[in-house]
Homo-oligomer: 487 residues x 4
């Protein structure tokens, strides 16, 4: 293989010839520029230069191999250039955001002071994350109303606790798709864990094993599906796969076959995020950082020229551009069944009729979800939809397993969902935050908190096991109680 | 024509002889003083002086010709006086408000940073507008409750999105009164665009053409109806006319015949703002500026003397004083039909019964509107009234086109209205703000934002075209969700 | 008559012999001490001293004569003592509160800047009033919730405005107990006007005449009933009398006969404030001023000794201690009928049943009132009670005139009440504030504001006269709209 | 008995040999370490040292005798060591929190300035309490929503006051379990009164006697049941006992027999706090104080190690660890009946069904309570549950006495509960705060305030005695009125 100098690479910095360095290797990405899901601009920012720092945290290790033809790998830097690159990295002036993070990490509280999920998210994770990562994780649709209402909706449901029943032997365990779980909570698929922690999704896999819960892996994980599978305690540790179906059926089929071969145990087909959501915090993050790092804004263009809506993708936008936006119940479900024997769960059901259609299509489960308030604003809060199904079509619960996700933070939230018919609930961002803040230990800690809270609620309701939780234990009140939700 | 010196003009500064200079011409306005819709006081402030700066932005170019007899044009200033006036203008000390605006314009963000309608209004337009213009545009009735509730009402309507349906070919276009529109949004009539930008209404006409949407022109536009018509890309570009019917039928008829002759394509008869609304921000703006410019308030009268309610007109008040306050369905609609063949739309319907009466009167359309919360406080939010008609009299939607306006800022708002039966929605102030901030480019930018948002919502609901939006896709929930509305 | 020196008076400063000076006259109040409705303590604070400044603003001129036996008037100060008293008054150091008021009066805005009722109350009156007067006027029961809800309740009522009807001849006038009123608003009885302005209730009488509205005079007015009657433009100007029935029937009868003789035109028997309300702002005002004037609080008693609930009366408490707390429909109404032929209105009806009972007792009118939120916390807002009567017992409106009061501040409030069946509405504190701020001119100004607002609302609803206002024009919505109310 | 030096004691500071000094006596607590309800860690903090200051306020005087075998009392300090200990105490530097409290006590207002319950709690007690005591008293479950809603729920209930009825003879007295009470309010069992005042529960007993109300004594009182009984005015002063049933039946029986022998008059069996609630303010209080006292936090462990959820007990946790979590209606009630003839009241009923079951089990009373929002979050507000029973099962009120507790602060709250069927209401924390702030006088003062408020409400409703309070006098409105509740 050829060896290059930094100067040689630097000559290829245009759309007609664009090279980049990633981990000391040199790639020709000219032809790929306009196929890049995140847009050409993001690559061109690093044309002729080292892109490692920006590239690594958001791409799994097999991404280059899966997207570039072998001949586009041109060779590596020569050793003198490698040394210069390394020295340059050392001498680089820290950005203001890096300095902020450094301070935040220093004053991070010891893990034992984290006594609820909100502590983990608000008091630690959002502070120690780089702004861009925080903006990607935290960003929700439009005015964040759906995100807020997801959480606030729980405050309309009150308990009817029973007293004078034995609860000393109370047990929080259950099954999800027949796999055992220590609590009725699973790690929901959420993209790009390495934005928050170098070990990324592996923290989740290990934490799930240690606490006996189940993990769903995102199509957009920042580690390869194989790396995550390899982090399992054994092949017996179940993994679920959150599938974003590619618009190209062949590519989509390859992805399904890959995860099945790796031993993944179920397909959660995502249907509520096929087009990019309007996540303004994420979209604005570049502007924010530009202003934050460079106080002199005088150079900004002031001409009143309409340039369309430039730079709208943020970190999130690129992840969905190749999604299949023309799926149907009639076509897509049988197509998947044809490829795999894994159970199929529809993630993103948002109305009663579609819950019924999913049953009719024979799906093994459905997730009532509005994508954590990150997609359509004013999609019903999942707990409200669950209640509606319980009222209108309770037969759904007999035909398929029903899960919900979105803004669940307390044991009370979990138990309310279970009373109303849910088999389990998913938490996505919470676990991303936990591993960002404390790695694997953060994940374990969150599960312990939830388990304690769920146990307490069950005992306070007077039940000994999950199956005793019934709709009569919950009342939808006609007032809006206070909620921990903040807008 | 005679030539005058500044000194000569200055001698005529009383109610018995009142001359003013407008664009170097001298006019005798003595007889007109008490016919001035904005009151005599406003003119007397400039008696014997140059009134150009105050006059121009709020009067169309044909206003003098339409209101003054030809002999009241006395002649022009002599050239030496013209030079002195110009020098005087240059040497004039800037007011504090002018300085504030100058600073605001300097720190105006580039247009591409504007990613939603609120950015445009709150982050830019309200900051770069002179206080008086801002106060006129932004002012709403009494305690601003109707304005606030117009917006907040949208938060009681949630979606029932459908998944697993093809949406790749989704199309946002529709028709309004059979004219094609790229999105179900039109520019609603709103007065005095030149308060915000020298090109005024022309920015709207050009922006509408560029983006394929329709414009309604206000009776109180700050350019003449002819100037606006002349700004069309071609005679094929449709224009709607918002008619305030003059109390004098002859004057009113002249206005209708004028716009029809200019090629305007519909009459939107305004019926909800016949008497001046109580817009306190506007009414107080003179006091505000007086205090802001002159910190020493010791000269203010302190005697406890009842002088009635003086100076209540603000910028808005003068616009409506000649409106016909005695219109009826029986008399007025046939009278208009007699004059013109243009379709008639009633703008300002506020209850179910009047929607029905408008159908019976054969109107081609109705706008459910409370004048953007600028007239009667506690008039129902238009989206609530739309919902009520959908519940009680769905036949209205078969008999006439129904539009709504008021506080629409997001694609979700637009699509909710369409699901509930609206043919399109109007935005007035938003476009005034957009052209104030960035001229024509601002108008185009706002349409692009709305088009993106509407497309996203339609795709997220699982529909391909406007006609698939149906009432079943929207639920009026029994709680009050958070809203972006601020009081 | 004897002449006294200050030293002579000063010797009588105990409960066994207590003299006070009022307007240079000397009174022996020893025997009266424990009959004083405001408690003995209030008097003892001035024992042996001049009590004029504290006494005058809250007692009508005939109070001494009505309460003290003639022989208790001992004589007057000698002229040298009068001069010394006057000099002492001049040299008196101003209190901090007096200095604050002085500043506030200086920066009082000119009356024409007052464009709504809230301006009058919040921007001027509360600032220029002495703290103690403000606290008495503004104080409401317990946590001020009823006061707040009185106001907020109006925000649940929206209009159904009609368009395309003639409104140019709109007329706001009506009658109350057959007396003509220019607007459906009367001045409600409210005590102690001289706390806010030296002319006190006379400002109200003159303002009422000038604007053609009606005044109800409080039993606890700070001018004598005769002085107020004398302020009428003529004997034809009607006056209503708000009766607090004394527990002693003879005393009560004397009061009724007195006002009838003076030409008062109706009796408004107050039934909702027979025992002292818990008005904490008023009760705390002494403590507040003590702290405000004297920053050194070290002298305060700190011993944990239970002294009961001392000093609870405030300014208000003393006014009601002699009320008859054992009135009944069967006994009291006939008793009054026996004394007078004046119409009887029951002020303070708070539930549907009592509205019905008042009709059965033959009362000419009822005021739905919770005493402006100054008595029982969580008494229903009057507009809600009005709505309830409209729903359950509309026959009440045929049998008697119904008024409401409490937190009415806008024309919309007035018209909502009229649509729902009220004949007129009362404003009490608003007029106290107005006369405190600007004397008679303030009263006139407030009426003008209300008249303009009422006219505007009527025209916007499409009506020409009061009798066209009907229940169908108002809808009680199922959400809580924003309100100007502040807690 | 042996005499020890401080040095001798100091040698025993590990889990293998752990001695502590309490009031100059030396105890060997090695064997007891892991039976300590509050956990071993709390003791080990004082191993080999003087534990008096921490021990005394939260343990009744008979606690050592009840828990330690006689031989574990090893002897006392020698007199020289006693002196050194005393000197050491004197020289001890005050903590920042002690200094804060000292200042707060200095500026404590005189008792007569306390005019409502909130004054007592917020303005005085919370300020003069040590942080740890405040945190224990004030702490509520999870996000404090239940606590907040307990209070806010009262704001949905409005009155229908009756006028024109005699109220001069109004009487607030009633009976509870046939014992006479001057007002329908009792002191509810609340633990650890000596945290707030050296006399602790005795303040309550004396205050109850002085004002003629009834006291319920907590199982976790900080004085022995005998000491409290001894504080009674006479054996005729009734005392109720709040029983936490020990998991060991023998221990439990001993406790019941003890209180019966002491003359206690009823058993209030607590059923809603069998497992430790998640009271975060209490749990965090150690961290808070650590940070408050020691600004240098650099020593804190930062390693991301999962140590489980350490130190969760707070002050509250230890109190419940030995509770019987397997009680049933069938087993437990007959078991108690077998031991004692005292009436049995179930404290902590939280749904209609359990109210019915309690009746069927023959209980003499039930307390509708969610433990003041300190246990299960989203347990219904007691006033809502009371209303529900009134609607669904009014027969309950005929079969048993019903009380409620939780967030009652005003006379209006009390009277609403009584109208809806409650026999009386309990206040726990309020009396803890009152005695913390002003000792016995504080308790008396609070009762006086409540009595005045209750009397006022009754008179304003038009009733003369408690039995006239009926459901028709209260309406549950469909809006959420403002409330004094703060989150």
């Amino acid at each position: 293989m050829e060896k290059f100098t930094l100067e040689q690479v630097a000559e290829h910095k245009t759309t007609t010839s664009c090279w980049v360095i990633i981990q000391n290797n040199v790639y020709d990405v000219t032809d790929f520029l306009f196929d890049h899901p995140g847009g050409a601009n993001v690559i061109l920012r690093y044309a002729g230069q080292d892109a490692t720092a920006a590239y690594v945290p958001i791409h799994p290790s097999d991404a280059l191999e899966k997207t570039l033809a072998p001949e586009k790998y041109l060779g590596s830097l020569n050793s003198e250039s490698i040394i210069r690159l390394k020295e340059g990295g050392k001498n680089k002036v820290q950005t203001r955001d890096e300095l902020r993070v450094e301070e935040a990490v220093k004053s991070k509280p010891p893990l034992k002071r984290i006594i609820n999920v909100e502590d983990m998210e608000e008091e630690v994770a959002k502070k120690v994350l780089p702004y861009k990562a925080m903006a990607y994780y935290a960003s929700t649709a439009d005015d964040s109303i759906t995100h807020f209402e997801n959480c606030r909706a729980f405050s309309r449901f009150f308990f009817h606790p029973r007293v004078m029943t034995p609860v000393s032997g109370c047990d929080t365990s259950t099954t999800i798709l027949s796999y055992k779980s220590s609590i009725p909570v699973y790690i929901s698929g959420a993209a790009l864990a390495r934005l928050g922690h170098p070990l990324g999704e592996v923290n989740l896999t290990r934490g799930a094993h240690k606490t006996g819960i189940l993990q769903m892996v995102s199509s957009n994980s920042s580690l390869s599906y194989a790396e995550i599978a390899a982090a399992r305690a054994s092949r017996d540790q179940p993994l679920f796969f959150q599938l974003y179906k590619h618009r190209n059926d062949t590519t989509a089929e390859k992805r399904i076959r890959e995860v099945e071969a790796l031993g993944y145990n179920a397909i959660f087909l995502t249907v509520d995020a096929l087009v990019p959501g309007n996540r303004e915090l994420d979209i604005r993050s570049s502007n924010y950082l530009e202003d934050f790092e460079n106080q002199d804004l005088s150079a900004q263009s002031k001409t009143d020229v309409d340039e369309g809506e430039a730079d709208r993708l943020g970190t999130a936008g690129g992840l969905v551009v190749n999604n299949d936006t023309d799926m149907t119940w009639q076509k897509t479900i049988p197509w998947i069944r044809n490829i795999t024997k894994l159970p199929i769960v529809i993630k993103g059901v948002q109305c009663v009729q579609d819950a019924v259609l999913a049953c009719e299509a024979g799906c093994e489960g459905i997730v009532l979800s509005n994508h954590g308030g990150r997609q359509l604003e004013y999609s019903l809060p999942p707990i409200e939809l669950l209640y509606k199904i319980q009222q209108q079509r309770p037969d759904v619960f007999e035909k398929t397993e029903v899960y919900i996700d979105g803004a669940i933070r307390r044991g009370t939230d979990v138990v309310k969902a279970l009373c109303l018919g849910a088999k389990a609930v998913g938490l996505g961002r919470t676990f991303l935050y936990a591993q960002s803040a404390y790695g694997e230990a953060g994940v374990v800690h969150v599960v312990r908190i939830l388990q304690r809270e769920i146990l307490f609620v069950m005992q306070s309701l007077g039940v000994q096991k999950i199956s005793e939780l019934v709709p009569q234990m919950v009342e939808r009140v006609d007032w809006q109680a206070a909620s921990r939700a903040k807008l």
